[in-house]
Structures are given as C-alpha cells and as structure tokens.
Symmetry: C4
Subunit: 312 residues, 4 copies
C-alpha cells in the first residue's frame, strides 16, 4: 500500500496544518468532500466550469442547460429583432410580440439545427447571424456531449460505510472498527484503506494527526463487506479513550479508501469521516446474513452493515 | 506483482467471507462476473444506467434505443395532439389517426433535428414544445455518443482460457496448470496472474481460501500462449487431492489476470474460474503448433490451447 | 516516491545533456513548458494538431474554429457557384454577388446541418456536393466534440507556487524553501515533489544537475499549503551559496510535482522553476492565516503563500 | 523500473516460446507491431472494429466512412424506391433514374439530419423509414465522434530511434548502443527502457531470449536525446560477437520504452527492434549539436541522432 505511506516523515504530514481551531471543525464532510474554502484569487480561476458541471446534481445540470438555452435564444431573438423582421421569410408578423416570439423560436430551431425552414433568414445580416448561431449550437452541443460523458464515465466508488464506528472487543483487547460494502453490482478489487485521526492536543494547544494502524489494510475482492479494524493496543494513539474523550478533543476519524473497478479498469477513491458522536462504545457488529440462492448465487443485504448490538 | 499480494494478512483475505454454504456455490462465473446479488437499497441506486448500457449486449442496446425513441415520439405526439393539430402548418388532417401519425413523425423529425419543415409548429405552445423536444433530442444524442464511446473504449482483455485445468507432470512432481492466450491482434505486455482456491473445510465447516503459488506469475509479452503452473509441492494446499476431492469440497479455482495493452495504454483485467468438474487428472497439454510463414511471421492457432492428451 | 528516483545512476541523468551554454538558458518556463525547440523533421510530424488544439488558449481555439468555418463555407460556395446557381432552388439571384452570398449561407446551413430548405440543391452535382458537405459538417463537429472534451478532461494540477524561493532559517541551519497551494476547490492527495538544480560548473565548464534532498517529499493531502524545504546541510550541493553565486552560475531550480485528484481519479503533474533572481536570502515565509468559519469550515487565502518577511 | 523486471523467473520468460524456426523471423516490426498471426477463431471475434478504425491510417478511415455513407444511402434509396416515389412530396419524377437519384439525396439529407425539406416523406411507410434513417444517422455520427476522439486521444510515444545500433567503445570495453529522441514538442518524463535479445542457439537448436543490462535504464526527462547503452562486459550474452555472429544467429534486439507524457498524464509505450543487419561495428555516435538561441531556448535537430562515424 505504498501510495498511502509517508516514508520520509516521522509523523504523518497530512497537509492540514497544525492549527488548533477555537471552534469544532470537520475536515471531511459525510459526502467525502474536504471542508476547506479557498479565497484570494480573483476571477473565474476558482470556478472550474467543466468540473463543476460534471459534479453538480442532475437536476441542477438540467436547470443550467435550460437556462443557457433560454438565454441564448433570447439573445439571438433580440439580435434578429434588431436586424429587422422583414429580413426573415415566412415570419408571422401580426404584432411586435408575435414577431419576437417567432424570432425566438426561429433561434431555437437554428441553435438545435432542427431548421424547419418555414422561417428563414434573408439578406446578409440575418443569414450571417443565423450561420453563427447554428455553429454555436453545434459547439454547445459538443460541450454537452463532453459534460455528459464526463459525468457518466467519472470513476465512482459507491461505498456504503456503516453509520457508526464501534469500539468493540477484538481478540484480547478492543478495536476501533467500522464496515464498508460496495453498493453497486460491479466488483472492486485490491481495496486499500487508510485511517487517520485528527484531534486537539490540550497540552500543546495544537491540532494533531495520527495514523491508525489497521489489522488488515488491503483485501483482494470487496465482494461482500469488509470490517476495517484498528486494534487499540499499547501503541495506539487512542488507547484508553472513552467516547467523551473523543468528543472533548473534537476528534475526527478520517478514512481514505482506494480500489480498482476492474470492469472499467478505473482506480476509484472514497473518503469518509466519523466525528466523535458517531462512535459507539461497548458494541459489536452483527454478522451479515449471507445465503446461497437456488442458482448458487450468494445474496446479501447491504444495509445490514449498519447493524450492531450493544454489549453489557 | 505488488498489486496482487496482501502484505499484512497472514492468510489471504479475499473479501468473500468464510461462510460454508449448504449448497454448491460458484463465486466467479465463466464470463468473469462475480456471482453475488446485493439487496437492501431502495430506488435506482443499484441500477447504474450508464454502466448498464455500457456492458449489455449490442442487441439489447439497440432495443433500448429503439424503445426510448418510440416512447419519446409517442409522448410528444400526444403533447402535440393535445395542443391541437391546427397549431401545425402543413399537417395532413384527413382523419384523427392521420393527424396523430403526422404529429408522431413530426416529433421524430424534431427529435433527430432532421426538421424537413413540411410540417412546422405555429404559435407559442407548439413552438415551445418542439423547441424543448429538439433540445432533448440533442441531449439524448449526446448521451448516446457517450455510451457508444464508453462501450468501445472499455479496456478488454480478450483472453481465451483452456477449457480445462490439468493436473499434469511437472518436473519431479505434478502441477495444476491451465493455458491462456490472447484472442485479438493486439499484444498484451506485463501479464500477471493470480490464482486462488476456495473450498469447504469439512473439519471447521468453513469455506476457506488459499493462494496457489505459481512457477512464474508474470511474463513480459503474452505473444503466443502462457501455461500457468502451480507446482503441487509439499506446501501446496491441494497436495494429494484427486478430482473427487476437489468435487467433494466444492472447490473453485479463481483466476485474476492483469495485463497492459500497450497499443491503447490500457490496464486490462480478466477473471475466470475452474470448478472441480473442469479439472482433469493425468493429462498434459499438447504443444501449440507455431510456424514461421513466408514473411517471417509466426502463425499460431489459438484454439489449440484447449488440446491435451491423457497419460497412462 | 519511486517514480522520481533514478536507482541505477549515481548522478541524476535528467536527459538535458551536460553542455555549458555560452548564454543564460532557462530549461523550464514559468508556465511549466520545457524550453527546447526540436528541428530537423520535415512535414507535419512535428505539429500534432489534436494536442495543439487541446492546449492552445480558448480565444485562439475560437479563432481557429471561426476561420475553419469561414474557409470551408467559402470553398463550398465557390464549388456551388461553379456548378451554377440555376441548380439551386429558391436562390436569390438578383446579382452575381447576391448569388454567391446566398450560396455561402446555403453552405453554412448545410455544414451545420440546420438545412432550412428555402434554398435547396437540384440535380446531381449540386446534390452530391451538398451531401458531401453535410457529411463533412458532421465529421468536423465530431472532431470539435473530441477537442472540447479533450480540453476539459485534461488533467490539470492548478498549483500556485510562491513567487520566490527563500533561503530561510531551518532548524539549526538554513534551508531553501518555497510554498505551493492548490488553486481549485478539488483536493489533491498523495502529492509528491522532486527538486533539481541545474548550474554551470566553472571548473569543468559543463552544465551540472543535482537533486536537492527534501525534508518531506510527499504529503497525504494538499489541503492547505505545503512548504517544500531543502535543508542546506553539509551534503547539499548549494551549501554556502549566496544569491550572487546562484546568479553567477546561471542556476535554475527545477520542480516537478505529481499528485492525484481523487475526485476525477487523475494523476496530475506540474512543473515550475525558479531562476537565481527569484531567490531571496535572509527571509522567511509568513504563516498562512487559516480560520474556522461558523460552519466549521476552514478558510484560507491562497495568495498569502507569496508573503514573506525579510530577516535582519 | 519494476514494470519490466521479471522477479520470479531466473531466465526471462517473454511469452514468445523457444521454438527455433527454420527461417529467419522478425518478432517486432519496425513500426512496433508484433509479428504474430492468430488463427483458429471463427467469426468477427478476431476483428475488433473499433480498435481497427482507431489504428488504421487516416486515408483508410476516410475511405471507410465514405463507403459506409454511400452504401447506407444506396440501401435507403432502394427502400424508399420500393415504398414508391409517390409517397414523397416535392420529388423530381421526370424519369426513373431521376427518381432514384432524388431519393438517394433525400436519404443523404436524412442521414446527416440536414433535412432541407424540399423533398419530404408522406404516409406511414416513407415517414417511418426516414425516421429510422435519421436515428441511424445520429448513431452513426455518435460512433464517428467516438472513433475520432479515440484516434486523437490515443497515447503515442513519438520516439525516433537511431537507424543503427552501434558496437562502440564504452569506458574500457565496448557497448551496444542506440539513441532515441522525442519527435514532438511535448516532454516525456520518467522514460524507461528495456532491451532483450532473441537469437538461435545452434547447440540446443532453440530460440533463446536474454535481457541486456543497461548502464542507465531510466531518465527523468527525455528532453534532448538519450543514448541507451548495454555494456558488453563479461556477463553480457553477446560478449565477443561480431556482426556476422549476430547475422548467423538471426539475432533481433527488441526494445520496449515506457514513458509518461505529463502534459496529458498519459503513460505511453514504444516498441522497436534492430535486426543483425542494422548493427554497425567499430563506430560511434556523433554528439548532437545543441545551441542556445537568443531567447535562452535550447535548439536541437532531432535527425542528428542517426549520425555516427566509423572508427579505425
């Protein structure tokens, strides 16, 4: 797991700095994004349009496309109206409103290249403006193709994390453990996990980071589920901590999982974090029900990974 | 072959769990898919449309596209019909059926942006509906472009596996061996194999997994064929097993092959498995015929890799 | 950081040769490109059109597209004019200039496949030419789609480098240090840096290259900023050098940063170099202001990385 | 250079087998393709259309597209003709030939979705056929987009190899050496080379393969040129060989180069081979002329890498 180990530094340098914030902070959001805002650069540099369009929700994307379509058509309708309705053949010209509406839809027919032709440009200005609009339509469409492909082909590790991390019995000691499973019907191979804890050190008044050693940090197939276990032994930085201790220190357990989707030959990453209030003491996970159905197919229910029982 | 070796765990953790099923199970299907069904998540989360369309058969894809095309046109024909046939110029209006048919094909002409224009929308509602349909057509087409590109550019290791795994003489002992070859005219370099066996342990009543050590687990070129050999020495978990033993234990030999197609710079993966009834004892593979043709070109027949001879 | 270390050679072989140029040279430009011109190959081999269109500025790309659109339309207008305006239905034929203009816009309507149809081809020659033009339009558009997608999906490490490299106090000695931060709202993980110095050796009259060892050459997250430090210890090739010495030797500090954008699963590279006049002695970087806002979000101003204070 | 080293096998297993062919063979063609023909599989399995279209020459691709366009239009013209010319409005119907021609061009206008509309379908059969054709056109175009993008974005190491491999003085002994340079204006980093020799062993009557150890097998930048040197020391398998010996043994020096184009973050591969008649004894390469121009830019002429001088 060479990719996750920092060979030269004695204490892991995570790039988060060591400032002890006055308030509670969360470095990694539940959706995996990192909770940092960067300011100071003017202009659009901070706003990577393509990446933004690739990651926003589908509903937002539809709204952006509809808005862009409407605005572009309004703009060209205005240009055509300025050129003059008399430069368009077949136009409904009963009123100024009708003229503008007809030019708006002529623009739509040009932008999408549907070009019915019952309305058509005449003369240089009208023809040139519509020639540019149809080119723009093609380019906009090329862009949409790229964005849709970018959205769909983006590598995604659809991992489900157990809602809680448990401090459960592990061999003779206890371990901090949580479970992950694969939500989709494609397999992940060579799954690797890396777990780090961040907490306030009240003595040094700095935020510290420590890597949590795992019992197993890599499995060949993520076929069913994987219980990731940090044994709380003498070397563990969280030895003896109660949930109250985790809370007092504003602790955050940060997880990075890397895997390969071999069907699409994609390396996928997943981030997650547990805050102190998501840690449960004296509990253990219930085994996943797994049965072979009549076709020799193994059946599991993925949401079972959340289930645990409290120990007395 | 760092990617296949689990460095931290003493016994390979494959992610399949250790349950001993009452029935015979097959973890890996002959087509390489993993034989697991995941339940428990509601909604479409389980159904990744893009990946589904990228991996279904070509015939199914054509049917999906035709169905989507027809349904969309029916829907818009219905909308246009509701708006009223009198809002469309050039429409054949001899009967209600003719009207609907004409509006259906007007819809098709709008969706594909062919827009002949012998039928055309008039007034706001008809124009707006067709403006939306042509935009939808462009986006649907953008999607189709992405899906087709995704299908074609998907990395595929077109490997042919010998139909049987043999227990054949190997040096002074025997070895479990099978052969692979590349079906297509592109070379694979840096080919790596990883072989694991899964079987029921009657003593512990658990399903166990063991990695089978290979004589050579990596070759530079997969130019002709490669006989992958697990020497059945004293350390082999299958030492002394007969085919009956493989069957009694419901054994499955699971293979993961990783290679690089250097023409397209793609890392490709291939999975395969042999069940006990595909293992043949006391047999050995026949050598592949390989000849240089008159151009100094080496000629092989790939299906020769299935051929073996029974030993007495 | 296996990728950056040259295991077999005792002195790093960077592939730049060892010639001592008479003039000052800069191997790496501030934008990261390598400052080498290759001559000697005839024809277009040197001009990789796709890669060129993928990397030129957006404004240049628009100009190239507009120029290509205009030239193609002029070409086809000329062909149509040669075929004869009488082979086109619906053409404005009041003057030769009008004819040509109408044919030019007919060409545009064909190339973009908008095809209003108020002008349409009649007879074999006109129909065949426009059939070819519309095919060409589709192919050109396919090309544009590929180029736009190629531009947007190109992996980019939007790193900001501090304007100066400082020779600042470091533990008991001094260190050569500079800072980098991530300009965009996507995280970079597994960030690795490699720093090499190139300078003229006045004794051997050769240009020499030496790798500068780093205190830490890899961090897990490039979340805030990273101060990259080369400790100027006894083994450092720049031990005791003043800024004048850097200038006299025409020194260049060349940096290669590699990181993974885990949102898009892309490996990204960034190159940068500092020339001698960008090195500042007896100065140290000011700490970055980082605050938690009311949502527990950490806020930084990226341009703060340029700020340093001069030491007395 | 982990990717090129075979850790488990004592002698390199290249996947070419060990047959001693009666005739001279060449495993790797000068264009880098591997000289093997695979037979024995029926049907189209062997013919990967997408990959074929992605790798054929540009001229061939244009011919394939034109042929497909013409054949599809002929097919649909035939279907329309069978449906009957009277089901098409605006058709030129002066003769049967004219009818067919008009239907052919109507087909072209439908397939490209230009749809002028001076000819248009009437009735169910004609409308349905053209609705299918326009859908087919869009899908065909989606395919073309994918193929063009696949062609352009395919990683390519545009390396130039010196025409000859030399046996030249190297330190106190001699070395087998050749040079490579980068033909295009993009840099290659982390360039690795692997050199293997294949020859007939007259004693064992088998074809043998041996890896040739290199002085340096990896450089950081392939900025100018790289002379790849195999020192012919006591351990070299070609110690004492004359060019005649290379010829007698039908030797082939096979080269695999791997590099990273950091501008596009692509790993690229290049293969090449030298046959015995391309090896020159008692010669040495002339140094590449490299000059700094007035902008501090280093200028080289790439074809200089072929130049060598014969030694007495």
């Amino acid at each position: 797991m060479a990719i996750f180990i920092n060979k030269t530094a004695k204490q892991p340098e995570l790039g988060f700095g060591q400032k002890n914030y006055n308030k509670a902070v969360r470095f990694i959001n539940p959706d995996g994004s990192v909770n940092i805002k960067r300011t100071g650069l003017r202009g659009l540099k901070n706003l990577d349009i393509y990446h933004w369009l690739t990651t926003i929700s589908f509903v937002k994307l539809i709204l952006v496309i509809l808005a862009g379509y409407t605005v572009t058509n309004l703009l060209f309708a205005f240009i055509y109206y300025m050129i003059g309705a008399n430069h368009f053949g077949g136009l409904e010209t009963t009123s100024e409103g009708n003229k503008f509406m007809s030019l708006f839809f002529f623009s739509a027919q040009t932008l999408t290249t549907v070009g019915y032709g019952h309305v058509f440009p005449q003369g240089f200005a009208a023809s040139a403006a519509s020639a540019i609009e149809s080119l723009l339509g093609l380019l906009g469409f090329a862009l949409a193709t790229g964005i849709l492909y970018g959205r769909f082909s983006r590598p995604q590790a659809d991992l489900l994390y157990s809602k809680n991390a448990l401090i459960a019995p592990y061999q003779d000691i206890t371990g901090l453990m949580f479970r992950i499973t694969n939500k989709v019907q494609y397999e992940l191979i060579e799954t690797e996990a890396n777990v780090t804890i961040s907490y306030n050190n009240s003595e040094t008044n700095k935020r510290e980071f420590a890597q949590l050693k795992l019992e197993i940090n890599r499995i060949n197939f993520l076929a069913l589920s994987w219980t990731i276990v940090h044994p709380i032994d003498d070397e563990s930085p969280i030895k003896g901590w109660s949930v109250e201790e985790f809370m007092k220190r504003d602790a955050e357990i940060m997880i990075l999982v890397k895997a390969i989707n071999d069907t699409f030959s994609q390396t996928v990453y997943s981030r997650y974090s547990f805050k102190a209030n998501e840690i449960v003491e004296k509990a253990k996970f219930k085994p996943l029900k797994q049965e072979a159905d009549k076709n020799g197919r193994v059946v599991i229910s993925v949401t079972d990974i959340h289930k645990y029982e409290v120990l007395n």
